[in-house]
């Protein structure tokens, strides 16, 4: 009577199971040279359970790719799958076709209750918002790149040095001031990459004190430091220096 009840409960449980799968996984012992035979068997069994869980509960794949100017800034992939997986009977182990192959077959199932209590979590609104902010910040960092106020000193090829202040607005407009030379003007953007920007200079004051229409190249060294290079119309370097972010 007692055995009858045990078998009865066992078969009733299986009958109520909503989803069951048979999974066979093959792994090769040579891939795990450091592990013992028993450990490799355990790995094979774990892989079979994982495969069964993915099939029973499905898999949520979350991915996000952030690009700026055609370049990938960030690419994140997350996989989530889970829930209780029950094994019917004993796992069956055997040797595979190739030398060292261990093949395990399991019959796995999940009850109706297991399926309802699945542990795969949908992204919460809070997490989604924090992801949004993170991605936007990354783009802003790249966009910000050169924007701001920069100052420093440049050495001229002809001798002497002078202080420089460059202001670049987020709308793409830029100005330059050579305080010690009492001249300055506007910088018109010509080319921009993630770490380099080229301008054409147009002096608006002190034209009699400085040479107009030089080309300016700024090369980003860090978030707070960049290289300043000034070239004449024949692309010869006129002056060079380092600028630091003021703002």
């Amino acid at each position: 009577m007692r055995y009858f009840l045990i078998f009865g409960i066992f078969f009733l449980t299986l009958a109520l199971a909503d989803k069951s799968v048979v999974k066979t996984v093959t792994i090769n012992q040579m891939q795990y040279a450091q592990k013992s035979f028993l450990q490799v068997k355990e790995i094979a069994l774990q892989e079979a359970k994982n495969a069964a869980a993915k099939e029973i509960y499905g898999e949520v794949v979350i991915s996000e790719t952030v690009t700026a100017n055609g370049k990938i800034l960030d690419d994140v992939v997350r996989e989530q799958s889970g829930g209780i997986v029950r094994i019917k009977g004993e796992p069956k182990f055997r040797n595979g076709e190739n030398f060292g192959d261990i093949v395990v077959t399991i019959e796995a199932y999940a009850t109706d209750e297991d399926l309802q209590n699945r542990s795969v979590l949908k992204a919460s609104a809070e997490r989604e918002e924090s992801q949004n902010n993170g991605a936007i910040k990354k783009i802003e960092q790249v966009k910000r790149g050169f924007y701001g106020i920069w100052s420093g000193f440049a050495m001229r090829g002809s001798g002497g040095s002078g202080d420089i202040m460059i202001k670049i607005t987020d709308s793409g407009e830029a100005t330059i001031n050579y305080d010690s030379l009492h001249c300055g003007g506007e910088l018109i953007i010509q080319e921009k990459t993630a770490d380099l920007v080229k301008f054409k200079e147009k002096l608006t004051y002190g034209v009699d004190k400085c040479v107009d229409r030089h080309s300016i190249t700024l090369k980003k060294l860090s978030n707070t430091q960049m290289l300043f290079m000034q070239f004449d119309k024949d692309e010869r370097e006129v002056s060079k220096g380092t600028l630091y972010r003021e703002e």
Binding site: I27, N28, M30, Q31, K54, E55, G58, E59, V60, V61, I62, S63, E64, T65, V66, T67, A68, N69, G70, K71, I72, D75, V77, E79, N98, F99, G100, K122, A123, Q131, N132, A135, I136, I139, V142, K143, S171, G172, E173, E186, I188, I189, Q190, K192, F199, K200, K202, R213
Partner: protein, 290 residues
């Protein structure tokens, strides 16, 4: 009609700024320079991080352009300043156009791909007619049926793979690629959605200290991620074109940014084919939705 206006506008914007650079002497597939209606082409140069990143860049660019072609919000700012001082007259012009697009793109998939002689990768991305019509609320858009050229393929050469030093020979012997090769890669790298299957690919580089199974696991995850993005993606993308003129000096700037996000329940995905590049040791996996 008003929904088509941004489309035309963005096409004009895109046409002057982001058309793929091509080599004139080389015969490229027809779709590179003339993508069919409601399709987009993305391209990317060789990436030192491997073919996966190169493909991802090209794919994202194509999807972003596709989103802009479907729906975008345009803002523009035009300013002209004229002034005279000391008998000199100067004119400054500032012209800025922003195009913002945020759409849920369902079923955007790779139709074809091509690698040119400079190793630049071109991807043709499309979306089914029904999806596009539901997205823009029109029944008039009828994407062209594309006749893709027949690819000249060669059979997979297992001997070459076994002779490579990617892994021990018993691992290499166990790898059987079923597909033929085109441009030294399996045909499904170029056409993962052939013959009605819903497929995608993942490519993982071989990393020092990691075994074949670990490399395969990464490739599989990337393939699933790619399949998830194919099924449903949220794309937020911005194109910004700036033109500044100061008298006789002018400058132009074109910047783009995009965030592509996907969260999909993949019911069951099966591995259809696998290929290990004997030269780079990159592992390619083709998965399909069952």
């Amino acid at each position: 009609m008003y929904k088509l206006f941004p489309l035309v506008f963005v096409c004009l914007l895109a046409g002057c700024a982001i058309s793929p650079e091509t080599k004139t002497s080389e015969e490229l597939p027809f779709w590179v320079n003339n993508p069919p209606e409601m399709h987009a082409v993305g391209s990317s140069d060789v990436n030192f991080q491997g073919i996966y990143m190169q493909r991802l860049e090209a794919m994202n660019k194509a999807r972003s352009d596709l989103a802009h072609n479907l729906k975008s919000y345009i803002t523009s700012q035009f300013e002209i300043r004229s002034k005279s001082s000391n008998e000199k007259f100067s004119t400054n012009v500032y012209d800025k156009v922003n195009a913002l697009s945020e759409v849920f793109l369902n079923e955007s998939y790779q139709v074809d791909a091509y690698i040119d002689s400079k190793k630049r990768l071109y991807l043709l991305v499309g979306s089914p007619k029904e999806r596009i019509n539901s997205l823009i609320g029109s029944k008039n858009i009828n994407p062209d049926k594309i006749e893709l050229p027949v690819l000249k393929t060669v059979p997979f050469d297992k001997e070459k793979l076994v002779q490579s030093r990617c892994y021990d020979s018993y691992v290499l012997q166990s790898l059987n690629t079923h597909s033929n090769l085109y441009q030294n890669r399996p045909v499904w790298f170029f056409r993962p959605n052939q013959n009605g299957v819903v497929g995608s690919i993942g490519v993982a580089e071989k990393e020092e200290g990691r075994n074949f199974l670990e490399q395969k696991s990464v490739a599989l995850s990337l393939a699933k991620s790619s399949l998830a993005k194919r099924q449903k993606s949220q794309i937020a993308s911005e194109h910004e074109a700036l033109k500044i003129v100061h008298d006789d000096i002018s400058g132009k700037l074109f910047e783009t940014s995009s965030i592509l996000r996907s969260e999909t329940n993949l019911d069951y995905v099966v591995e259809r084919d696998i290929w290990l590049d004997p030269d780079s040791c990159e592992l390619y996996i083709w998965v399909i939705k069952k």
